[in-house]
Symmetry: D2
Subunit: 137 residues, 4 copies
């Protein structure tokens, strides 16, 4: 069962051509947190067969933005983000879970952990931190 917030978030995601191209799903969306997920396909890979860092960065960036929007309202911008890659992205699925660490009138600072799901086990592949701001002040 889904709620109104999750439905609204999925409507926005469906309007992102890039997210449709990658097959991204919004699997959780609530005040202070968001979870995005995608099934890893051959066209998500780099030359060694791992998920391309850019796919992981995209998923983290998008999850951070959703988490920030959940705290600030829907009209937001991602000002910046930083990502550390901790392990090659290998498996059936990538899942990015973002949460709000701090939120005020002017910004939300969010953190995101990206895991790869392989044979039923989740392994951390990246950690990101970023700043989300209202789209207009």
């Amino acid at each position: 069962m889904t709620n109104a917030m999750l439905e609204q978030g999925r409507t926005v995601l469906a309007e992102q051509g890039f997210s449709r191209l990658l097959g991204t799903e919004l699997t959780d969306y609530a005040p202070g947190r968001a979870e995005l997920s995608l099934v890893l396909r051959p066209d998500h890979r780099q030359q060694h067969g791992f998920a391309h860092g850019g796919v992981i960065a995209y998923l983290a960036d998008n999850a951070l933005t959703y988490a920030g929007a959940s705290a600030l309202g829907t009209g937001v911008l991602t000002l910046e983000m930083k990502i550390n890659y901790t392990r090659p992205g290998l498996g059936e699925r990538l899942i990015a879970r973002a949460e709000v660490l701090s939120s005020g009138r002017r910004q939300a600072v969010c953190q995101c952990k990206v895991v790869a799901l392989q044979d039923g086990t989740e392994k951390l592949v990246a950690v990101a931190q970023g700043t989300i701001v209202p789209a207009s002040v």
Copy 2:
């Protein structure tokens, strides 16, 4: 006319399923620098019609990695990167230009500027900084 280094870089890029999916081209590759570029398509966009931050982050990440590889050798990993978005990505093409700021035995620290080309004018849309390391020590 292209040189051997650029050809080798293009061969690697052609092996990245994700880069083929996005239509990325390697337009410059030399010791200490790399330039990647892609034609903006509807499926690169977010819900407001701008290039998705994830596309920009992907291009910056990949250009940083190429620049680092040019200094360290081809077997490299991107350990982390940070990106600031400075302007919405709007136009015909995104171009990411990365350069090596510092390089040693253990790491290369690189910077990347991403511009959007619109009606013949380049505008800065993002600045990134990241750490590239040899794939094995």
Copy 3:
């Protein structure tokens, strides 16, 4: 009561001229985590009377390094870090709590939250994320 690891960490801290200058104390140090703290003095301030961002960045940087060292061994380097300031640093004391998010043979990725203690209440003033590596490979 203190343990051997905390004692060893305090010995190292006492050898840091800069930490002595600022009055930093190591208040917790165990596998996977570290806590550093200092009493805020007038000479820690910037022009508006808040803790200088540089004091907060120093404390976060040092706590990240300790956390990384707890996972990797004592001979470590901080390769890089990123810090988001979430609120002005106001109060009697700054406390930086760092933990290891991921650790392997080559790196530890750590996170740090810095709080200001004012009238018995902790408020988050910064969040940092960084990469710690062994000093020699």
Copy 4:
């Protein structure tokens, strides 16, 4: 000879207790750029005799803020910054040179290079990137 902008910047610096404690000087300040410098003393060091990462982070943070202020006006906040350490800080003096990469109504994105001056030679010890915003909107 100094100009009015440099004088104003030095007045602000003199009001920062922490900058007085560390002996920081503002050696250049003009639209789009700032340079801060300090003589390395034993109480700036970590346990191996190098400049403490926190001193370098402080100097970069402060130079980024000055550069941002030169573009946005004097009432600014540093929202976040990221620093890569490229070499141990060894020598007589640290110099941080920051410049504005992009500036608008809402933010200035700045870069800073920190060098150590040793026997007349400058060596890059860190590169930082950060976001400066107006103090109130």
